[in-house]
């Protein structure tokens, strides 16, 4: 009866949560079931992302694995409640299970101890803003569950119910506490009831607590996208066929997808995202954790209205911005993906932020005014700086062998996608020229679209202007397909991500490589000669988010740098843990508030390695870090990997 009551309460409390998820908009396609299943194994069972922090990871894994091992114990206890002599048919008599039970119960106690040590003694900043008392309650309940289990097992040993007392050394040792007489029989009854009531009580507590993640985490991980994290799900806006309920991003809670709602239920407020967030680290109001908590609070508060809306009722919902999160929070994000990468339960913060932006930009025209110049530039001149298209080939002056593709020309072997920064920004133009000279030296025909190239739409898309992005994507795909392009080399990490991951949605499927990959391949194949002038000094490489973390390209730029003969040194935060330059998510075109600038913070980290040169592989990083170097009056040079290679291989000064 107790069991029935507990389960009924669990269902009663959990049901509305499930109904809200089911009422939400469908999430993206459930493609690649194999990859998803593998993720369940590695990430859920294997706890891989938790181990990104060794001690907290080991602590969590111990408690989690203990939880799995001890699941049958709940059934065991239920039987024993009825009759102390009853136990599970096979497991109840197996020595190995008795051993595992004893071992993991003990380890969970140690784990809870470590958890309290982390929370009460170490007190890392990532917990700022989390519900600390709730966490204490949860940990104490877990402690109670395993302690009663161990003591119950000890009393059973004392009473002679256990088949293999020696297999459970801890409980066996504890059994000396019990005399084995009538008082032990009473103690055994109390302990088994205490254990079971704690377990059932915990069950009823779950749906309303952040500990709900033990149910939602596994499906949340399964539902997370399999595409590279730089990929955004398209909205596919059809202005001709706009219906009244056409969704331009997330305005109110009913606009969230099932995955987005499940994200909210899965957050345990561990703050790993907050710890790696460049915005939070530089004193801005955005914390990915607080964003998720804010949205969750609103969804929970509006639950009755959401359920009524799901059954066709007309309800008035509060806008998510600025109620759940403020405008500032939404605009602070650099979309670097550090939070997503860090999250043990695969919450996709960035996609939700972009969805919030989509509504603000497209439905309300509400965004930092200084970014308007960029949107107008992209809209009118097809580049963020409003430069004339004819100037796209200015960088080719004085360079031989660059082929501007005209309509009707035969398809190029590989198309060099220069990008707007690469064509217009003085610093990025140096990179562009280096790449062109290197490719020419390697015997590759450098083909460009010249004035027919348009912005890929990335800055507009990350800013939330999906319609503008869609227009540009369609136009670019038409140009590229018309030119018979099959392979593209891009020098900008953002162009690379958009061309490789997002253009397939618009009919543009190309083999896309980043210039550092192409150059590394040419060096490997011996098509770019050995270093004519070995570089001196040391170089530290700054991973661009949209090349590294979002697309897993870490080695090629490092290989190229090593080939120059320069000494290399890594920054403390590198590869998938790299720290953004501050320009992503259209932040390049916005003013920055907070205590510190992201680019200054990253540059200081680079300077701290003692390197003479900071190598970059993306024009955004170049501009941001070079600005930081100049602002500081630093002697450290910022240059693209390609320029450093050109100086070494071609033994010429930079153009």
């Amino acid at each position: 009866m107790v069991l029935a009551a507990a389960v009924a309460l669990f269902v009663a409390r959990g049901r509305p949560r499930l109904d809200i998820v089911r009422a939400a908009r469908p999430a993206g396609p459930l493609d690649h079931p194999g990859a998803r299943a593998r993720r369940e194994l590695v990430q859920v069972l294997g706890q891989r992302k938790l181990f990104q922090k060794a001690i907290p990871g080991a602590m969590h894994a111990t408690i989690f694995w203990g939880f799995l091992i001890l699941l049958p114990t709940i059934a065991e206890a239920m039987l024993a409640v009825i009759d102390p002599a009853w136990t599970l048919p096979y497991l109840g008599h197996a020595a190995w299970f008795a051993f595992l039970q004893d071992l993991f119960a003990t380890l969970v106690i140690v784990g809870v101890g470590v958890a309290f040590f982390i929370r009460k003694v170490q007190r890392p900043d990532r917990f700022r803003g989390s519900h600390m008392q709730e966490a204490d309650r949860i940990l104490l309940t877990i402690l109670g569950i395993v302690t009663t289990l161990l003591l119950w097992n000890a009393s059973r040993i004392a009473l002679g119910y256990a088949d293999h007392p020696d297999a459970a050394p801890v409980a066996n040792a504890l059994s000396s506490l019990f005399s084995g007489g009538r008082s032990t029989e009473v103690a055994e009854r109390i302990l088994v009831w205490a254990h079971l009531l704690l377990v059932l009580g915990f069950l009823t507590y779950l749906p309303r607590s952040k500990h709900l993640h033990i149910i939602t985490a596994a499906p949340n991980v399964y539902l997370a996208k399999t595409a590279p994290s730089g990929y955004l799900e398209p909205l596919r806006i059809d202005l001709e066929g706009t219906e009244e309920d056409t969704r331009f991003g997330a305005a109110v809670a009913t606009d969230l997808t099932r995955k987005q709602v499940l994200d909210l239920y899965s957050c345990t407020e561990c703050g790993r995202c907050q710890e790696v967030c460049p915005a939070w680290a530089t004193g801005k109001p955005l914390s990915p954790k607080l964003l998720i908590m804010g949205l969750r609070d609103q969804v929970v508060a509006e639950a009755p209205a959401l359920l009524s809306a799901a059954s066709g009722g007309i309800v008035e919902l509060q806008p998510l911005v600025p109620n759940a999160v403020t405008d500032e929070v939404v605009w602070d994000c650099v979309t670097c993906g550090a939070c997503v990468r860090e999250c043990p339960v695969d919450i996709e913060h960035v996609d939700t932020i972009v969805d919030l932006r989509r509504n603000l930009v497209m439905a309300e025209s509400r965004f930092p005014p200084e970014a308007g110049t960029m949107l107008r530039g992209v809209e009118n001149s097809e580049n963020p700086w409003g430069q004339p298209a004819s100037a796209r080939t200015e960088w080719t002056q004085g360079l031989d062998g660059i082929h501007v593709l005209e309509p009707g020309d035969p398809p190029p072997e590989v198309l060099f996608w220069v990008g707007c920064a690469g064509a217009f920004d003085e610093r990025a133009k140096a990179t562009t020229r280096s790449i062109a000279r290197l490719l020419t030296a390697a015997g590759i025909d450098v083909a460009i679209l010249g004035p027919r190239e348009r912005c890929t739409g990335d800055p507009a898309r990350r800013m939330g202007h999906e319609y503008l992005f869609q227009t540009l994507a369609e136009q670019n795909v038409e140009t590229l397909n018309g030119a018979g392009v099959t392979k593209i080399v891009a020098s900008c990490a953002h162009c690379f991500n958009t061309l490789a991951n997002e253009y397939p949605d618009y009919g543009g499927a190309y083999e896309v490589v980043h210039h550092t990959e192409l150059l590394a391949g040419l060096i490997r194949d011996g098509r770019l000669g050995a270093a004519a002038a070995a570089a001196s000094g040391t170089v530290t490489y700054h991973d661009a988010c949209y090349l590294g973390r979002h697309n897993g390209r870490y080695d090629a730029p490092r290989d190229v740098l090593r080939s120059t003969g320069a000494g290399t040194v890594e920054m403390p935060r590198n590869r998938e843990r790299s720290f953004c330059c501050g320009a992503g998510g259209a932040r390049m075109w916005m003013e920055e508030g907070g205590d510190a600038r992201i680019n200054d913070t990253r540059f200081a980290e680079a300077e701290g390695t003692g390197a003479d040169t900071v190598a970059v592989a993306c024009p955004y990083c170049f501009v941001m870090l070079d600005d930081a170097a100049k602002a500081k009056g630093s002697e450290v040079r910022v240059a693209d990997v390609a320029t450093l290679l050109a100086e070494s291989v071609l033994a010429e000064p930079a153009p």
Binding site: E370, A371, T373, M374, R376, G377, N380, S381, P384, W385, G386, Q387, P388, A389, S390, F424, D425, E426, R427, W589, M590, E591, R597, V623, D627, K630, A631
Partner: protein
Amino acid sequence: MGAAWVYAEMVGGHVHESAAELLTIARSLGAEVAAIALGPGATDAAAELGAHGAATVYASDDEVFSGFAGGPQTFAVAGLIEEHRPSIVLFPGTYEGRDVAGRLQARTGSTLMANAIDVVGTDRARTEIFGGMKVVDVQLAGPEPHLVLVRPRSVTPARTDGTAQVVAVPAEIPEAERGARLLERHEEVASGPKLEEAKVVVSGGRGLGGPEAFAMLDALAEAIGGAAVGASRAAVDAGWVPYSYQIGQTGKTVKPEVYIAAGISGALQHIVGMKGAKRIVAINKDADAPILKMADLGVVGDVFQVIPALTEEIRRRTSS
């Protein structure tokens, strides 16, 4: 050919400077030129309008025109159009100009051309497309009068020193046209001319080395007279001057007659905000600075020597 009219916007009892520009354009069309001035001070403004070529000024000093947004002006202009049948009416691309022109178009069903930079006939307006990369003439079809919104500061006003005949405009405005009442007018308080409106802009960048050096630019701006001081993002980011000084991609866009860039390297982010300047003077000690490539006059030198010397020379010439 019917007359060419100009909507002369009244602001705080005075005629807006755009009226002289529009009259200069209207005169070039070879038609009879008239101006409409509505609001307190309109009758007095007729002299100024006449001096810029208006033969007739339809004026009313009634406060109804300054107390409501758009409606009464539209009603009055529509009445005048009905009566006199001009071929074209030019409006300034200001908030009020756009408001009245838009309402008028809806009322008359004639053609409205926005964002023109010049008018070359009563049925031809000139405008920029592709973000200013191309200038095109647009044929104005549809019934007359054609309505054209002209971007401020597109032409240099020229005087004729003529006089205008003043025709009073009735101010009986129906209640329905008094929808939006003007409650308050806020003027942004700023010392010196606004950056976006100044004819000369003196701008400083990272090369100035610190906030103190901006006093040097203030002195130069004062010597020139009516010049505004701006800054590049680097100087603003460094905290030397407030954000309101910032010129560039994420700051203000300026189109002065002369732009003096001191210690600014010319990063793309900055150039976006000042490339529309008619003349660019750049002072930079780095001969490779991109700004020197686009400058009409480039000085490779130390701003701390060049700027004070320039200021001194301007003072000497203006005082003599």
